[in-house]
């Protein structure tokens, strides 16, 4: 610490000693040396003046140095006034931009998570969709199975009907045989009636009554023969009709069998395709769910990392606030010099102490002490303090 009065006293003492020396020289040597003594004294004074000029402590130069110090302090203040607000604005602007950008980033992450959840919900990846899809498939399979069963049942009925129609053929054959039997009986009866008529004629008038009977029997046998023929004809017609119907039914049954087999095959193919599709959908929704969980985990990690902004922002705020204190400190330092003439060096502890008081994080204290730290890890569950 150097005071203005200290400078002045040193200057006065130095110059006074030189003047006293010169005066002593004049007084002591005037009588003996005369003008030579005066010249020597002048040289002493000149030397004293030169020496004090070199040391900067001469009265005339001291006022000049004080002005220089004033100018320097004022310039230093102007420097701080010009530079510090700009630095602080840059820091604050960067801090604000970082906060806005990170906030926007967090918002976008939030949007991604929401969209992912919606996509998962729509695709049925939540599990309910998979269950519903499996149920729909099972229900459809059951309904189509019942359709196939009822078609098969109808086909079975048709086959039974066809068998009954074929049985009718057998009946018509029997009827034809019975008709032939009637015709044969009629022919034999006719022959008997003829023989009876012959025997009646041989008996003469006694056999006249019997001849009438024989004639009637013969007529009956002839009518029986005609009826037998008629039955045979009708049975033939019925048999032909039944045969035609049977053949038509058989052809229809064959076609229906083929259609039935084709339909059954197509239903099975459709169900297989549907099953493959639902299996693929279930697999893809399971994959989507798995990926979604993975992405949500990544987003969770990103959320942890994004918290750096809060910490960095705090540090930047603390440093900016501390930098803002430098200008008042420079002003105070200059004012103290003006008021007391005492030029004090700037004390860094004032600012550093205030800066330390603002620290909220352990890492700030560590960095202050010169440590280089990596970003702190996120708190674990056992690091929570419950009160």
């Amino acid at each position: 610490m150097i005071s203005q009065s200290g400078l002045r006293s040193k200057t006065v003492v130095s110059f006074g000693l030189a003047a006293a020396g010169a005066l002593g020289t004049i007084v002591a040597g005037w009588s003996a040396w005369g003008w030579a003594t005066l010249i020597w004294a002048a040289l002493l004074l000149a030397a004293a003046a030169w020496l004090t000029r070199d040391s900067g402590f001469a009265p005339a130069s001291a006022s000049g140095d004080n002005a220089m110090i004033d100018n320097y302090l004022e310039g230093r203040e102007r420097f701080g006034d010009a530079v510090l607000p700009v630095w602080c604005r840059h820091i604050e602007n960067s801090r604000t931009q970082m906060e806005e950008a990170v906030s926007d980033l967090a918002s976008r992450f939030s949007s991604i998570v929401d969209k992912l959840d919606n996509a998962l919900h729509v695709s049925g990846g939540s599990g309910q969709g998979d269950h519903a899809m499996t149920e729909v498939f099972s229900h459809s399979e059951q309904r189509l199975g019942s359709v196939v069963a009822s078609m098969k049942s109808a086909m079975a009925s048709k086959h039974a009907m066809l068998a009954q129609i074929k049985d009718l053929e057998r009946f018509t054959r029997e009827l034809r045989g019975m008709a032939e039997g009637v015709a044969s009986i009629a022919a034999q009866t006719n022959l008997l009636a003829l023989n009876a008529a012959i025997e009646a004629a041989r008996a003469g008038p006694a056999g006249a009554g019997f001849a009438v009977v024989a004639t009637e029997v013969r007529m009956l046998s002839m009518r029986s023969a005609e009826t037998g023929k008629e039955i045979t004809n009708r049975v033939g017609l019925i048999s032909s009709a039944i045969l035609a119907a049977s053949q038509a039914a058989e052809q229809s049954s064959d076609a229906e069998d083929k259609s039935m087999q084709s339909a059954e095959g197509m239903i099975e193919a459709v169900l297989n395709e549907f099953r493959e599709m639902t299996d693929a959908l279930v697999q893809s929704s399971a994959l989507l769910k798995q990926e979604s969980i993975g992405i949500q985990g990544e987003v969770g990690q990103a959320l942890v990392q994004l918290q750096f902004q809060d910490r960095v922002s705090q540090v930047m705020s603390h440093v900016r606030a501390n930098m803002e204190q430098l200008l008042p400190l420079l002003r105070e330092n200059r004012q103290r010099y003006i008021d007391s003439g005492v030029l004090e060096p700037l004390d860094p502890d004032l600012l550093m102490h205030d800066l330390q008081k603002t620290y909220a994080m352990a890492e700030e204290h560590a960095v202050h002490s010169g440590a280089r730290l990596a970003a702190p890890a996120a708190s674990e569950a056992d690091e929570i303090t419950f009160f």
Binding site: A106, L303, L306, Q307, D310, Q314, M361, E383, T385
Partner: protein
């Protein structure tokens, strides 16, 4: 109807980060920029839990918790302090103000959600 959690932090990005974690777990979220803003939003509605920062402008977290606990509707509402502060003296201040837990940032979402699930009002 979901449970409502108030998040008080002067950092918009931190409010977002906490909000994403809480909304993802099915909670409704109310945000406060600082203690004053948060108190103005405590209008008697049901708040099941508060997550609060400590160092904030206008009104710090400790003062907020003290005043919040004076409000009749929120006397029993649990508060979790979520802060970069890890000094024991600060934790004691939080406890004295009425906070129920202290979580140091940065936090893992699942860790915060674990504390929330443990303390949230039924």
């Amino acid at each position: 109807m979901g449970k409502t959690i108030m998040v008080v932090d002067d950092s918009a990005s931190l409010r977002q980060v906490v909000g994403i974690a809480l909304k993802g777990a099915g909670y409704d979220v109310i945000e406060g920029r600082d203690g004053v803003d948060a108190l103005s939003k405590c209008t008697g509605q049901k708040i099941h839990l508060v997550v609060c920062d400590v160092n904030m402008p206008n009104m710090d977290g400790i003062t907020f918790v003290k005043q919040f606990k004076q409000l009749p509707n929120y006397k029993f509402t649990p508060v979790i302090m979520l802060t970069t502060e890890s000094q024991e003296s600060k934790k004691e201040e939080g406890k004295a103000a009425g906070a129920k837990a202290w979580v140091v940032k940065p936090f893992k979402p699942e860790v915060l959600l674990g504390a929330v699930a443990k303390l949230v009002l039924p």
